[in-house]
Amino acid sequence: MTVANIVDELDIPQGTAYDYVQKLEAAGLVEKTSDQRPYEYDAESLSLTLSTDGETQTITPALIAAVARRDEDEDIDVYIERHGLDGLAVALEYADEYVDGTVNHRIAARELDLSPLEAEIILQALEPVAKEYADAAA
């Protein structure tokens, strides 16, 4: 991917894109893969693990995508307000199962201590993310 690709994709100014890419390169998160202009960059695969008070949470790309949807999907926003990011991470695991057909909203509700209605709302809201990242992993 080139800086021009990023500018097109994200619709941000070129200077800003260069700035981001340089910072990401300095942090070792992207790598230059060509020596000639326009430079091409490749992203290193990323796994973040957060530990607080003995609780460990892996920040997966799917979780980042789910959180990013809170701006456009108010159901996700309300869920995060009520259950926190930890709660969303767990719900996302259930959404993977829901897409696979290995859970339904009623079992999810009992195991997550939600009402069946709330469980169905969040599972449907997370379904596109679960599908996209399941396809990416396949």
């Binding site: 309300v78 290995t102 859970v103 339904n104 079992i107 709330e118």
Partner: protein, 175 residues
């Protein structure tokens, strides 16, 4: 041939939203097709059972309008004295436990009610074809697998209530 459409909670959540728009489109599509939706008692309880869920936009589901207009009907109570109903629900419990890799003990009547209602509608002659509209894939698969074993081949159809499916029947965007 009498086809009965049984709808699960997920169908209505798909149509939820503050502006009633999707719900009304579903209503129009069904009325044009002359179709009403039968919902199990359990689904009726789920739709109205959680005041805490009020904060979610998708919780805004004007389903009581559907009762008034007659295109949503609460189905009869499940008759557990009907041997077919109780047998199929028992089998469905095992089937769903297996599909979901859970212990059989934690699968409840709520999970098998859709399958039980389909069996009851077919057995009592209220329907000779049942379409299950649901997002509950384990229950949908259970119905499609188990009912043909009791003589109801080609009588049951599991339709996953996806966004795309609802867009198809309402001929409109459904986001």
């Amino acid at each position: 041939m009498t086809t009965v459409y049984v709808a699960d909670t997920g169908v209505f959540v798909r149509c939820g939203g503050p502006d009633k728009d999707k719900f009304e489109r579903l209503c129009r599509a069904l009325q044009q097709a002359g179709v009403s939706l039968r919902i199990p008692q359990r689904v009726y309880e789920e739709l109205g059972g959680d005041p805490a869920a009020d904060e979610y936009p998708s919780e805004n589901i004007p389903y009581p309008d559907g009762f008034e207009e007659g295109w949503i009907v609460v189905a009869d109570e499940l008759d557990y004295t009907n041997p077919l109903v109780s047998t199929v629900m028992d089998e469905a419990r095992r089937f769903i436990a297996n599909e979901t890799d859970r212990d059989e003990d934690i699968i409840e009547k709520a999970d098998t009610a859709l399958v039980g209602l389909a069996a009851q509608l077919l057995d009592t002659g209220q329907a000779d074809h049942v379409v299950l509209l649901t997002t509950d894939k384990p229950a949908g698969r259970a119905a499609e697998t188990l009912l043909p074993r009791h003589g109801f081949s080609d009588c049951i159809e599991f339709q996953y209530a996806s966004v795309e499916y609802l867009e198809t029947i309402t001929a409109n965007e459904f986001r």
